[in-house]
Each structure stands twice: as C-alpha cells, then as structure tokens.
Symmetry: C2
Subunit: 637 residues, 2 copies
C-alpha cells in the first residue's frame, strides 16, 4: 500500500481560491430564538445607480449560502482539525444519545488499528454517538412528537433568507426604499402543480413537512459540523454534487478540495461516491470538513470488501458497512432496495441494460443466489440502524433508464412502485426517506415520472439525476440534463443531482464540478421561479436592474459566477473604464438599446406620460391605468 | 479609413479546422427527380460490435448536414470566388426574373464605385436579379399556385434524411439487419400540442405548408449558393446563429470564419448583425460563401447611414437599404414593424425598458416624430420589395422582455397582436413570414407565449431568442436560455435563435459560437424527440448502443461534438487502448455497471429467460409477454 505523506502537509490549508469571500460579499448571520442558532447568509453589496439613471442607492441582496465557514474571514480553517460543530450542543442536550467508546463496526475498528493507515487517518478525537437503547433520534421522530428542533428553526430562517425583514426595512427607509422594495419584491405568480408553498417558512411548517414525510433533513448525529438544510417540494429546490475517487484516478486531497469547491459554488449536499483505495479514510476527511450533508452509496464499499465479487456480498458485510459509515457521520445512504429479483429480467431487452452501479450489483447478486436482495429482505433491520444515527434513506433507482430508448419502461416503473412500499415501511419507523429518479427521459415523458413518484411514493421528496433529455451530446450532458432538471424541478422534484460535462466520458475535475453546479443552480432557480417560490425573483430583479443601469460590477457579483462573468466581459472590453461606461461591447458607444430606452423614458417623463406614482407603488393596477392613459394621449395625435 | 490588405491573402483559403470532414463521416448525396437536385447528408460510419457483445456490424447513421461544401473533400473551396450555385438553374428556368445591369439601390452603386473599397470588395461578377415587372417570385406564391419548386423537393428529401430507405435496406439485409432496424427505429410516441407532423415529408406537404404560411423557405433569388431549408412547426426544429462585427471589435475575415464555423456545427441559418464599419462588404463576403440562408436587421445599417441618429431615419433611406441588401441576397429581414407609437409608453415602467436594438431605434423615431413608424405605414411597400426578390419577413419583437420582471407584459403582447395583423397583410402579397419571440421568460410562462403566437399569428412559424428562464447566471446564458429553447421548441417553435455564453457580457468568439450552437442543437433535438418527430430517435439509439457496447469512437462520432467528447475522454484515460477497453474511468476495471448488465443478460440467456425472438422483432407486445414469462419463472422459485 502506498501511503500519501504529501497529502496532509500539502493541503492542511485549503486552496486559497476556495476560501476567499466572493466579490463584494460578506457572510452575515441571522440569529434564532437562542444564540447558538446562527444562520449564515451571503450579503451582496451593490453600488449606487449612476447619476444618468437617477443616482439612487441600491440595497444589498441576501442569498442562500452553502459555503460554510470557508468564506467567513472570521473562521479559522484547518482541515486537519475539521470544522466547528454548531449542532453538537443540540444533539447532546436532547439526552437520547450515548457516546460510544469507539467504532462499533468491525471494519471501523480494523481501520482504526491499522498502523499503515496512520498517515492517512483523520485524527478524530471525538467518539461516535448512537441512540440510547430503544430511542429514535431521527428528525422525523421528533417532528411526529411535535418537537421543533433547533435544526428545524435553523432551516426555517435559512429558507426565508431574511426576506420579510429585508423588504420591510426598505419600505421603512422612505419613498426610494419603498419603490425599491416594490421593484425588487415583484414576482410572477407561479404554477406549482399542487405544491403547498407558504409565503413565510415557519419552524412549525418545517416540522409538519418532516412529520408527514414531504421533506427530509439529512443530519446524522455524528455530523455535528453540518449547517442544517431541508429537501422537500415546498422549499427551495436543492442541488447535489457528486465527488469521489475511483481505482483509476484521484486522491483524498483532491476530493476534499472538490467538496469545498462544490459548496463554494452552491452544492446543497455532496455525495462521496469513492470506489478506489482508502474509501473509509477519504470519507472521514470529507465529513469532518463538510458544512453540508454528505451522502454515500454503502454498497460500493461493501463490494470493495469482497474484492468486487457481487455474489460474495452478504447482509453481515453490508450491515457492518452501514454502521461504519453511520458512525462516521454520513447523512444519507443511497440504498437500492427496490431492485427485486422479478424485475431483473425486465431489463434484458433494454438498449442499455442496468446503468446504476448499485442496481447492477444487486441484480447480479439476486441472479447469482436466485433470492430476493438482502436490502429488501433486511429492510426493517436497516431502518433500525438509520434511526439510531438519523441517517436518511435515499431509495436508489437501481433500474433507472440509461438511454432515451429505455425511458419510463416497465423495469423502471416497477421499481418505483416498490420504492413507494418501502417508503411506508421506513415511515413506520419514523425514518426519513427521499426517492431517487431518472436518468434519461425525453422532455415530454418527464411529467409522468414526477406524477407517478408523487402518487406512488406518497409525496416523499424526489431526488433526480438530470434527467438527460437526449443522448446525442456527450461532452454537454450537464446541459442535456440541465434542461430536464429545470423541468422536473418545476414539476416538483426537491433535489437535483448534478451532471458534469464529463458525464459518460471521464471523471470530473474542479472545472467540471463548477460547470455542473452552476448549471444545476440555475436550473434549480429556474424551477423556483416557475413554482413561484416566494422571493425567488429578488435576485433576478436586482441583477436586471444592475444590467439596465450599466452597473457591470453589480451584474457580475449578483450572478452565480462573478468570476466568469467578469472574465467574459474583460475579454472584449478589458479596460477598467469600460465597466462604468454606458455602453457595452455588443453594440458600441453609438448604438445601445438600453441607452435609447433611457432616452425614451426621459422623453416620456418630460411629456408627462410616465407616472412615477404608479412606479413607486409597484402595483399592476396602476400600471394598467398608466398604460391606458399613455395610449389615449397618443391616440389624440 | 484603414483598409485590411491582410484579409484576402490570409483567409483566401478557409481555416483548415473548419473544412475537414468530421471524424468517420463523409458527405453523401440523395438525388431527387432531376440530377441537379442533390441533397447532402452526413453519413457517420460505425465499427462492429465487439465480440463480447455479439460481434455484429453496425450500420452507418445519416444526419442532417448544414455544413455545405466545406466538409466535402471533392469541393474546391476558395472564398474569393464564393460557393457554387446549385439554385441558379432553378431560378433562371422559372423565367420570371430579369438580370439587372447593376445594383439598383443608390447605396449599392455608391459602394461599388468607391475606389477606396477595392481591396475589401468581394469580386462578384454576377449581376443582381429581380422579379420581372408584375411578377412575384416568392416560394409562397409558387406554392399557392400549386407549383412544387425544386427547392421544395430538395427540402422534402433533406427533412426525411433518407430514413425510409435506410430502415428498409437494413430489414432486407437479413435477421441482424432487421433486429438493428427495430432497435434503431424504435421511438417514443411524442406529444406535439397540435402540430401535424407526417411520417414522411413529401414535396407536396412542403408546398402545402408554405402555401398556408405554416412554414417559410428563406431563399432569395440572389442567394443561389443556398442549400434550401425550411422553417416550420411540422419540420425539424432549426437553429440560427448570430454573427456580426461591431464598431468595437471584429473584422470581415473573422465574420466569414464564424459563418463557416457555425454551419460546421449545425447552424441552419446565420444572421449577420454587423453594426460596425464595412457592413455592406462584410455581408457580401458572408452571403457569397454561405450554404445556409442569411438574415439581417436592415435598420442597423440604415441607422449607420444617418450616423446613428434614429430621428434622422427616413422611409427612403430604409427602402434603399432593403433593396441594397435584397440584391446582395439576404434571405430574411428582421423588421420591427410592430413597434407602434401607442405601445412605447407601455415600456416606461419596465425593469429593463426596450432591449431590442431595432425596437429601441423605432421607439425613439416614433417619439421624436410623434408619428407611427414608417415600417408600419409603409408595410405594403415593403411587401412589394420582398416579393420581387423572395426575401422572407422575420417580424421582429422590438418590445420583447429584457428581464424576467418584464416577461409577458402588455407591451410585449400588444406588439404580438400587431405582428399577427401584419402577417395577414404579408400573406395577402404571398410574402413569407415568421414571427420573432422572447427574450426572458420564466419556465411556466413560456407556454402562454407559444399559444398566443399560434393563435394571433395564424400559425406563422415562431422564431424565438431563448427564452432565458432566469437572469441570475451571466456567463451561462446559453444554458439559462437553452432550457427555455428546448421547452418552447417542444411547444411548437420552428427555429431557435442561439444565445452564447457571452450574452450580456461581450462579443462571442469562435469558441462561444460553437458552445452556443451545440447547446441549441441539443435543445432543438430534445424538442424534436418530445414532439415525436419521425426518426429523431435513431441517432440517440445508435449512440446509446455504442455507449453500452464500449464503442468509444462511435460514441464520440455520433455526438454533436466528436472533438470535445474525445478530448474529455482522453483527459482521464489518454491511452489509445482505453478506447477499446470494456470499462471506463468513472468506475474502473472491476466495477462497471454495463459490464455487470452484460453478465445479467448472458445469465438470463443461459437460463432461457431472454427471448431473442422478442428482441429481434422489436415489438413491445412481445417484450411484455417476455417480461411476464420472466417474472413467472422467478415467482416459481
């Protein structure tokens, strides 16, 4: 075995590019009902409107911040020590857990005592926790008892993004602020296909959604570093980023870097899909340094333990792996328990068979043993483990289609029905569940996936990969799938699993990770806008205003990727002066539609046509009156 | 004035990267009813299935080819001479046109005799054509008289892509071919929102669609170099690429290169939006070398002629510009004739006012003169020009929304109604019309745009820019808009105007042009699949089969961008041997879901479960029986 002594020294401090605050941004905290509930948000400052456009101050904009302490200059980052643990007191004070003397999985013990791993091992002083005998520590269990946990309150504050206070403070600031609140706060009514999104997310609403299974809070008691977040159709659409090494390439250091990089750009959760060497150690480093929930597919590691021979897998090995990972703090497990023996032959006539790794492992096992999968037969045993650590199920779609050809076929839909049955069983144990979905689906068949999932899985949150809407663009599958992701997010999917440009071709590097995340963040946001998620349009409105007023820096900074926007702008017009110029490279100085519009507006104002009162009140009724009056004026000509 | 003497020598031969055939591809021609109807298609050869998967030959795949003679090794490319003119005999033999002694626009004459322009001028020996007195040379006029032109027959063959013959020849080749035809030819029934897409496109169908205005064939009689194509809801969804210099940057040579580059990657039409110096000369070079229709916005050039002062524009200057460009061979004109005086004040309370350049020019003119726009008052005069050269209208959406905030507002929808009225007037003259659309629209409001357009513009083809589904991702607006484009294409838009990653930030370079086109090609294809366009799924199926069988080279070559796919693959596994390896970098040699699937399939076959007869006949009914039988087998266990 090759130890990697350079790893620790080289990356003890995280990549500087991944920890600097984003431009013109600072991390602010909204405090909850107790001082240790401190919800981070990113405040993006704006410059004033240029004199030519009215010289008014523009308020900062608050956006959801997944980057954790990394973008907080006040935080000390040392990945050898891991992050601070905001959840630690909440977990401890509930008094329903006990601290173990050490790992209780056989494999965990073995790795801990393997001297050869010393240099690779994260030096975790803390011992794992587990529920006391007979206790259930899942957020769903608390929710069903009517308990609002600090995690739930944290989430309510986080989802609201400070919006009510923000708009109220603008209105109180006087006429300009009032006008600004009307402009920024205006939003198209959405179309949400039966979702129940309240105007304001309360802690009680979070609790009720978790209690009825419509949302999950992935928050293992052994991951106290996490900043709580929620996945559900009535909340902001979330994005997951996959990382992980393979036998072919990549090291622990790279994976930790990918995780911090992914959360910097907006990943709400990260899945560690490592399949190569040192899976256990890689995972420990990632979790200890991750402010977002971590998901895994435990069967990958179990398979490594039997040297890649699927038929040698046993329930005992799998069970030990679940405990091993639960005690490290994995927040959700993808478990392909719906791959039933009788579904396997349904895939034989497919174009691309079984493309899910977990699905194909279990299919092979089922056929080799002529038995139902141990994930299915031991499902209630798995529930017992999940509730002892609060690991959420992500019920895997082992039979998802791997091509447009195979979309929505019998194998896929049969498995979905089984996932619905398993959801009911998990809920009987108060264990949190989300359901994974396709894959490759043409645009017009996406809705059927969402509708069947809602119906058959009883509104458990849907967590989809893409779907890719065509197979003909390898190298651009972040886009073929981003189209499907925005669409299924609009229809009701709660979390979108990103796809990078390298999908089907190779392992993503940092640039691919970023491309995948930004694509999925914009897809998730397009879905939020379409659903009419309250306040979602504020950022669009602010950015559009900045664009119209030629506030280039604000336009860059309000975007999902300020660095790239600035770089693109500077390629054409690199001079600093151009960033305040009232024209841009597309049209040149004599030919700017926005400049002309401004003249139109001034002209209209001069002629008494533009009624600023209508504008200030931001009311559509007024706008309609204004338009009528304007039209009459002109008709008189 | 700075002449550009290096231009001609440096680019007399076009960039080598833009003229090489794509990998494993060759240009083939399908001949029509006469030998001079030769329809180009791209044939992509495939390798045999590896022995492990059955060692069968894989047939070539035929795809729509927009690249013109540039990818034909048999063609001699010399951009100083321009392309061959396949349409020349068709135009001449109709006997309804006359060859003029020279340009009939004042500006055309002026430029021709300006000695300073000698070095920049394309040396066109050919004189312009115009309809004989009293004649109408539009494809719509012919169509309405029941005439099927060679252009229409060319288009019918082109749209079918050889599919019926292709599948028939496979079936005739024996059992393997039959099975292959069933596999490749299988397709999900689509959902097309009332489109009328026949299984086979006949020349008569093309004629009837053009006659009723549901499709346009942009084909100026002065652009005989064009390979005819059609834009309509019942045909393949098309993609337009914008190029053009501005006062700030870019030269003639670059624009010609962008045009050949754009068509190489699939642009069905190209708009030359130049606004800088030498607009006239740039356009001549582009048209003479373009195998695809060229569109322009004549008001841009008219504005240059009055030194950028919108209020100085006159009908006479605009008219002269239309004739100048029509005699150069522009195939469609964007004309913002729907910007009425009374609509202008409707934009005063917008977030981003009027963002269309043409729209803002006309709005300014209307306000300055307190008169209705000359584009509107002289609309029938414009029709007279259009029908004398067969230039198609692209009725511009001068009041399209420039932000999510402004989407679907009164200004936008009022203009759309006027465009519908103008459509009727143009049709009265047998002049072809398409309608331009937004812009920035959240996902859930896109359908309203399409529905209103179909209703109010009487099914004239819709030609949309995006729409962008959110404003928060500058630098990624090819994707924010690709989502909207796929969606509106599915709903019925006939042509999608691309957006590049530089949108809102700078002028696109060649890399951006390619990113924009590939994004829009995949969006258009996703729309074709969703509409159930006959045969659209063949390429997806072939690529998926190649992917499943680890035919890496075939997977690359069947994709929209073989170069990028290969580059991405080689970044992770650069060795040539890896391209035939039965695993890939994502999972490594011991851990491949496709390998496991293959084992599942072999296992099922060994156990007598997989019924190859079902597979060979490719019939779903059989597959269902098979699945049932498989399930029963297992239930017996």
């Amino acid at each position: 075995m090759k130890a990697e002594p350079t790893f620790l020294s080289a990356t003890a401090a995280v990549d500087a590019a991944a920890v600097a605050p984003l431009p013109n941004s600072r991390k602010v905290f909204v405090e909850g009902s107790r001082p240790d509930i401190r919800v981070p948000m990113r405040e993006i400052r704006q410059s004033d409107t240029p004199a030519a456009f009215g010289a008014e101050p523009n308020p900062p904009v608050y956006v959801y911040d997944t980057s954790g302490p990394y973008t907080d200059p006040a935080a000390r980052i040392d990945i050898r020590s891991g992050l601070e643990c905001p959840r630690a007191p909440w977990i401890a004070e509930r008094g329903d857990t006990e601290v173990l003397s050490g790992p209780s999985s056989a494999y965990g013990v073995e790795r801990l005592h393997d001297a050869k791993l010393a240099e690779l091992r994260f030096n975790l002083q803390r011992k794992p926790r587990r529920a006391r005998e007979g206790r259930n520590v899942s957020q769903m269990h608390y929710a069903r008892q009517g308990i609002i946990t600090p995690e739930m309150e944290f989430i309510a504050l986080r989802e609201n993004q400070h919006r009510a206070e923000y708009l109220a403070s603008l209105v109180e600031a006087g006429p300009t602020g009032k006008r600004m609140a009307a402009l920024l706060g205006r939003q198209h009514p959405g179309m949400n296909f039966g979702a129940s999104i309240p105007n304001e997310i309360t802690p009680e609403f979070v609790r009720s959604e978790v209690a009825r299974g419509r949302a999950v809070i992935p928050a293992n008691i052994n991951h106290p570093e996490v900043e709580p977040m929620i996945i559900g159709r009535n909340f902001l659409v979330k994005v997951n980023a996959n990382i992980g090494n393979s036998a072919v390439t990549s090291s622990i250091g790279e994976e930790v870097e990918k995780m911090t990089w992914a959360t910097r750009w907006g990943a709400d959760t990260v899945m560690d899909l490592s399949t190569g060497k040192h899976i256990h150690e890689t995972r420990e480093w990632i979790i200890r340094n991750s402010p977002v929930p971590i998901g895994t597919v435990p069967i990958y590691q179990a398979l490594e333990k039997v040297n890649g021979k699927a038929e040698d897998l046993t329930w005992e090995i799998y069970r030990d792996t679940l405990i091993e990972q639960a005690e490290q703090g994995v927040d959700y497990f993808t478990i392909h328990a719906g791959v039933l023996l009788r579904y396997v032959p349904m895939t034989a006539n497919r174009m691309t068979g079984i493309v899910s790794r977990g699905g194909s492992i279990m299919a092979k096992w089922c056929l080799a043993h002529h038995k139902e999968s141990f994930l299915y037969t031991h499902f209630e045993d798995i529930c017992e483990i999940m509730k002892a650590y609060d690991v959420s199920f992500s019920l895997g779609d082992g039979l998802r289609p791997g091509s447009i050809y195979d979309a929505n076929d019998e194998a896929q839909l049969a498995e979905l029905r089984t996932l619905g049955e398993l959801t009911k069983i998990a809920w009987k144990h108060d264990v949190q569940v989300m359901i994974e979905g396709p894959g490759h689906v043409p645009l017009h068949l996406i809705k059927e996936n969402m509708d069947l999932q809602l119906e058959q899985c009883h509104e458990a949150p849907f967590y989809t990969l893409g779907p890719l809407t065509t197979d003909i663009a390898p190298g651009y599958d972040h886009i073929t799938s981003g189209i499907g992701a925005a669409t299924i997010g609009w229809y009701g999917t709660a979390m979108l699993c990103y796809v990078t440009p390298k999908e089907h071709l190779g392992l993503p590097d940092k640039a691919d990770v970023k491309d995948g995340i930004i694509t999925y963040k914009l897809a998730a946001h397009a879905a939020d806008l379409a659903k009419g998620h309250p306040g979602a349009q504020i950022r669009d409105n602010a950015l559009s205003k900045a664009r119209f007023e030629f506030r280039w820096e604000d336009q860059f900074n309000l975007g999902l990727d300020p660095d790239k926007a600035r770089e693109f702008h500077d390629e054409t017009l690199p001079k600093e002066s151009a960033k305040v110029a009232h024209f841009c490279s597309m049209c040149g100085p004599h030919f700017c539609s926005m400049k002309i519009t401004q003249e139109v507006r001034e002209y209209a104002a001069r002629e008494g046509i533009a009624d600023n009162a209508a504008l200030q009140q931001g009311m559509e009724v007024k706008a309609v009156e204004f338009v009528k009056r304007g039209a009459e004026l002109y008709h008189k000509q």
